[in-house]
Amino acid sequence: MKNKVLSVALLVLFSLPLFSLSINIRSYDHQGYTRVVLEGDTSFEYKMDADSQALEVTLKKRASVENAIQMVQGSKLVDRVVHNWEEEKSVFRVHMKSRFKVKRSFVLEQPFRVVMDLVQNTAPVAVQSDIVKLKAVPQQNQPNNEAPKANLKSEPPAPQNTVAEKPQEDPQPQVTPETQEGEQDVPDEQDLPKKKMPMIQTICIDPGHGGTDLGAVGRSKLMEKEVTLNLGKKLKRLIESKLGLNVIMTRSTDEEVSLNSRVSKANNQKAQLFVSVHVNSSFRRSARGPETYYVSLKATDQEAFRLSQKENSSFEEIEKIAENDNLKMILWNMAQTEHIKESSKLADFIQYELNILMHTRNRGVKQAPFRVLMRAAMPAVLVELAFLSNTGEEKELKDDAFLARAALAIYTGISKYIYYYNNMYR
């Protein structure tokens, strides 16, 4: 008897490491909803989280799947399922082609399956909700028209190519409020407020990197995270003291803040401009000069960029025009889409001032798909002040007086944008 027990125990012991959870994923469209099924060869515990772009299912076991990325062919809603694992957990991230919500989820046995039914969320994105809420804001909370203008009585010189430039289309995006309940709660267009944008009162400054994320490091060990924090604090002081505006910092100390948290902070606190400050680095040691970026869809599609410029179009209209599913997904994922034209203008103003400061020919305002800018629900830019990889510029970045001048240049660019904005939109 003892031997039998011993044999069984040894068998279990030998066999245990061999059996990991194997997961099969499938998805298919039904009328009105899309079903995603995670089938395991054994049962498993799981946790489900969702944001507007993806559904995340975390398993408390390490699972094996056939492909790390599984493209879902022909689905109206689901684009791909990405599998990552860390230690003894497995995370399945179901990426959507458009905004969605979980209609229901349940578990079936034999074989063990987690079934999730998903539907398209046709309510517009959260970006526009502020404007509707303004109707309920008491008068004393309305922006003070005088303060910023008082500091900008004489019109500052406009950057190149922006002198007296008027938007060719009406710059006000068509707005509808966000609701959690779906399309029935979307009011008629007549209920929406007339086109009038609030004065800029709050600006978010985002000093790049921090904590264990050092950013670029120069030959003299100067770290990007130190420069950006120093520059960010100088910029905050200037904006508060000269413009009297409220400034939010995504970090005020040497701490690590995720890219999503940075933009969430700006969105949650209703910042109206987002300025991320960074220091650049290149594999080419001779690269030098300031650069100002705003977000781009170009990395994924030129056509998407053209569509994003159609500011009078609602997301639904844009989505109809967008020809392929990837494009739709990108447009829906980017809260920044509606602000690209304004972001470009803000970038122009800042870059113009930085060119004067650094005596550089215009390296040009550039576009790239910056993670931190994509979900900003406001005009947003990223400033790369100078190259840490360039010995000469690294020396300048160490100089506090240079950083003070750089902060003043960025501040001037921002204040010119505010002047432009107040004249165009108010």
Partner: protein
């Protein structure tokens, strides 16, 4: 009594061996599927033989913002994904007198073509995260170095997606979003 123990252990070892063999064979068949599209699509596809392709590579140089063409043309031979792999390895290896925007320690783990999306998925080792020098321009140089070179030479590839250590990452060093695939931007190339 001792004999019984020996028989039990031998039996146990046999079971263990057979189970391992079964799992090994099962996982082996899965690994082969990893680089390919769904099986039902594959069965109809014609079997491809090796072919020889001439490629042209572009590299960064210290005195140019654009990627410059390397004078010599290179012949690569193999079936489709072997050729892609050889080309990416060639890019990683670099060229004398040119700049390679890749940390030395980084190597290619695997790559595969998602034919329906005309997308090449390139999976680098995790050294890419640990050894990358940071900086927006560095990230853009890295991304477009691969995307432009690949899409320029292989017309069947319209976009490139990056994985690191088999996983999807949000950024390489905190700037550019790499969750989505990239289309080429040939403005980076100095064309003849």
């Amino acid at each position: 009594m001792n004999k019984k123990i020996i028989y039990s252990l031998v039996g146990l070892a046999l079971i263990f061996f057979l189970t391992s063999l079964f799992i090994f064979l099962k996982s082996g068949s899965k690994t082969n599927d990893k680089k390919s599209e769904p099986v039902e699509q594959q069965t109809d596809a014609p079997v491809e033989g090796p072919e020889t392709i001439s490629v042209k590579s572009f590299f960064f140089a210290e005195d140019s913002r654009l990627m410059l063409p390397v004078p010599e043309e290179i012949q690569l031979t193999g079936i489709k994904e072997q050729v892609y792999r050889q080309f990416v390895d060639l890019l990683i290896k670099g060229k004398k007198n040119f700049i390679s925007p890749i940390p030395e320690e980084v190597t290619l783990r695997t790559l595969y073509l998602v034919e329906t999306q005309k997308m090449l998925v390139i999976d680098f080792t995790e050294e890419l995260i640990h050894k990358f020098p940071a900086g927006t321009d560095s990230e853009l140089e890295f991304i477009y170095f691969f995307v432009n070179n690949i899409c320029f030479n292989f017309k069947e590839i319209k976009q490139v997606k990056f994985l690191i250590g088999g996983n999807e990452y949000r950024t390489i060093s905190g700037h550019i979003d790499i969750e989505n695939a990239f289309l080429p931007d040939f403005r980076y190339l100095k064309l003849d």
